[in-house]
Symmetry: D2
Subunit: 316 residues, 4 copies
């Protein structure tokens, strides 16, 4: 029992218990023993952070099969004062569950979130070609409702569902891609950027100047000319008219790496709107390297050289 | 009564009557008086074309607010022997409908497709802050089901819904962006590319080589170095592992334009997989121009020069 | 009479009086009333500066017809601790002179510096097709020696030659290009870079890394990506083996312009050897402008933004 | 004795016998037993070819220490209907020669071509610091004239000079760089380009469009984007005004290589003036390779793909 409940940190996540998002949150060491707040969607989770109801929100940002999570990307692009502080990967595997006693040949109606449903397209076509689909806002809710008056015969759910609900697994691993992975990010409020770990990622959202052909090429060159690799470049409509996009970027490295900082300066100079979303440790812990000419000390020594040149100490 | 029913062309579209897709199909002159086949989803529409049940499928490909339609982009990337032959724009406007007699203050549960629901976020937050959302696979179906035992009190639907169903409009223009537009494409089977109109678009899907940093920059340069502007560059996961993408590209111009053909050759040379989706008239009828040095005759005269140079006729 | 002769500055130049180099030096306001030291060649002039015998050397660096002056470029590339402090343009016009009484039809042998001789090729071919040429180390010396036992009948010289020597002009304006201009630079020892004037030029000599294809492209991009235009890019052999070059560069702008400083940092990071030769006022007094995104304040505000981003004050 | 003297080919070269140019011509197998015509300068040699007096001219084009031979580059840029058909390398080594009986300490005046003189700068500074220099139009002539009334005490000449003249060698290997090499090209009249050997070089002279910043970058990209490496990029003034240059380019590969042909088409499309100087075997016999994506068959298969795409046979 703590007499300082306010000292506890609050983490919002897409609930209820049993979701992949909860599995991502379970990977966060600092979140253990803190308050976990289950919410209904990504917008609500981020709103908790903005309003101060929570300290952090765990949100899905990309799936290896389905692509970027548009609502998460758009929210990060438009809600100010948010920062990504960590990245987590959760393997995505689906089971088909039903009320105890149901046989697979009895399944006529399936309740599932459209994304999960889409990822099980091949298995369903092969084994239940005549089923009907009722879309759900959460697979876990869909599964739970089987025991609570659902019209459906079965639901698609994460394998952990049976820990929470008394359901029977009719089939396992029914996803089309057995290596499917969802990438999550932990989002907090603005704060000083953490230290570099050598295995970092920097996330940005960049709007291109309107009236300049080749602007995307220029954007990419800001990174390539400094030896900074991009692991993600996704476009999202700005929304005001067809054909106007902002770009969601994940760059290898940390803003405290000289080359990344320099690339960000370059981007900022020509973009009418850059959102810095954070520099944080990578989920894959892969060490980020670059060519010799883009190492930190090369940047430092170039600056020293320029100072000497201007002061007239040395020209060679 | 026709004694030659096989002479009629069949167009599949996301039904039922009243959808935005039907509004797109209504723009196709050649489709008037032909067979319109309402289907349940984009996959089914394209499958109709592949199997020969239909000649064409009208599918949504991009929304100015919500972005690319992932399922359409992924289907075009993976289903062989399809060709885009036309592009159509439909303004997207939403109304809130209910059973006759319903008052807006009685609306507690709203049935709507998640994309439409997302586009009405602001209006709903302001006017019905406490509502619940039931996701639907089609707005028109959601609206129709209000009269057929739906648990919902209201539905989000296109303004044309009242032509087809006896529903009451509680509010009009509830979308967050009053300029929202959805872009549709008409897809047929492989056929010779049509003639250029001077206002054309060429669609491609390109996979990048795996082991080459800067490959995206190289891809973009294939176009920029020939004066070809891109109106769309979207990434989609290939699906086999996180971090591998294919790019959906709309280029200004026609494959019968020399500069576009040359750019496609450049792209094909370094990409392990290029899908040519078609060259077709633009919905906006905007004339595509380029700089003098990328006009057709410049390409032709360069080839003539090279022939002379090789044959030794002329060196200047 | 001054009792502080050491307070006078010494300027070395390619003499004797009457050369184009002297005409360039005559344009230097600060040189009026100082010591002018005529030397025999560019190497000697620069050596005077290095050794302290002179404060400045005026040397020819480029001719609009004949191109870069190789010996000057190579000397600046290899002699340390020199700085260009000014640039001067001298129109190049040639006359054919002879001993008084000589008729043009009597001219059989012409004495001239090979560069001047080359620039009068067309006139000589048309008017004196059968002449012989004796190369000279200086046109002024060649002309002077006509009165001092020279074997030649005529010499090619600057129009001012008759101010210094009692010679007869047989033909004027005999150069192939009546707009020919020679560009001179005034060179001193290392010293703090002067202030920007808004009409400046920055000179560099850059060696490319040996084992990197595309290195020249990367070098040029360091400038173009910062909106810095190059008015000169010339290659000179490094001299150790065929195919290895250093590049002589004149960039628009001053090292105290943010964009130029940033470009120099970029160049320095990848080049094994950069020689900064100076930032100095342009001879043509043309104001150097750039696009809005490369103005000084854009660089400053990008740095402020990055500081805020890292300290967590602001992400938008 | 031949009764068909007209069947013999004539080769012009910078004479007299003993020059480095003659050594280059000695490397040409096809020139053995043909007519060798010694001329006084490069212009005369090329003029012989243009007028038909000779079939070929051997001319120096670049020296590893002194750089490009401006007069040769400018002549090739402006004289139409010439073609380079071969490349030859001659090591450059100098000796100091004098009349028999001369001691090195007696040498006060040295006669030498300015380029050779420049290449012996260090040795002369160390061993004959007080000498005077008389420039000559040819080292061999300077040496020969020592026996024919020359005012000079010694001359700088190729080591082979003693084969032709009764002179005494005072010092050998007096050049500053013992690896110095001069590159020569054999020039004929326009003719069909020869077959590729796999070890080829293609020479061009390219003028940049006047009013386009970044044009040089665009020029270089035409090659890099097709995997074509440049072994030479030199600028020469066009001559009409300061700051306007044409570029002398040697590209790896043969115009019958698909990638080189494609690059040339690209260059031709944006340059107001391209001079194709020829594709010919390299002196160093180095095999030219490129990355897989720029091999000939990749170009061919891309064209086949595009044809299929346009005819509607295949989209994948």
């Amino acid at each position: 029992m703590s007499d300082q409940p306010s000292a506890q940190r609050v983490y919002s996540y897409l609930g209820p218990a049993g979701t992949f998002t909860e599995a991502a949150l379970a990977q966060v060491e600092a979140a253990q023993g803190q308050v976990w707040r289950a919410v209904h969607n990504i917008g609500e989770a981020l709103d908790d952070v903005v309003s101060g109801r929570s300290d952090y929100a765990m949100i899905a940002i990309e799936n290896s099969v389905d692509g970027g999570v548009a609502v998460a990307q758009d929210a990060l692009a438009t809600i100010p004062n948010l920062r990504i502080v960590g990245e987590y990967l959760v393997p995505v595997s689906f089971v088909l569950v039903a009320r105890p006693g149901t046989r697979i040949e009895d399944v006529k109606v399936i309740n599932a979130h459209p994304v999960a449903y889409g990822q099980c397209h091949a298995w369903l076509g092969a084994h239940l070609p005549k089923h009907e689909h009722i879309p759900a806002s959460s697979n876990v809710l869909a599964a739970a409702s089987l025991l609570d008056g659902s019209l459906a015969d079965a639901a698609i759910a994460p394998p952990t569902i049976t820990k929470h609900h008394d359901l029977e697994v009719l089939a396992t691993d029914i996803g089309d891609n057995s290596n499917a992975v969802t990438r999550f990010v932990l989002v907090g409020r603005n704060a000083p950027v953490g230290e570099r770990t050598g295995s970092d990622k920097t996330s940005l959202i960049v709007e291109l100047p309107e009236d300049r052909p080749g602007a995307l090429l220029d954007l990419l060159e800001q990174f390539s000319t400094r030896g900074v690799n991009l692991s993600l470049l996704a476009s999202r409509p700005i929304g005001d008219e067809l054909g106007r996009y902002r770009f969601v970027i994940d760059a290898d490295g940390h803003v405290r790496d000289e080359r990344v900082a320099d690339a960000l300066l370059g981007v900022r100079r020509f973009s009418p709107n850059v959102v810095f979303l954070g520099s944080y440790p990578r989920a894959d812990r892969r060490e980020i390297t670059t060519t010799d000419e883009h190492e930190n000390e090369v940047f430092v020594s170039a600056r020293e050289w320029l100072d000497q040149v201007i002061s007239g100490e040395e020209s060679h």
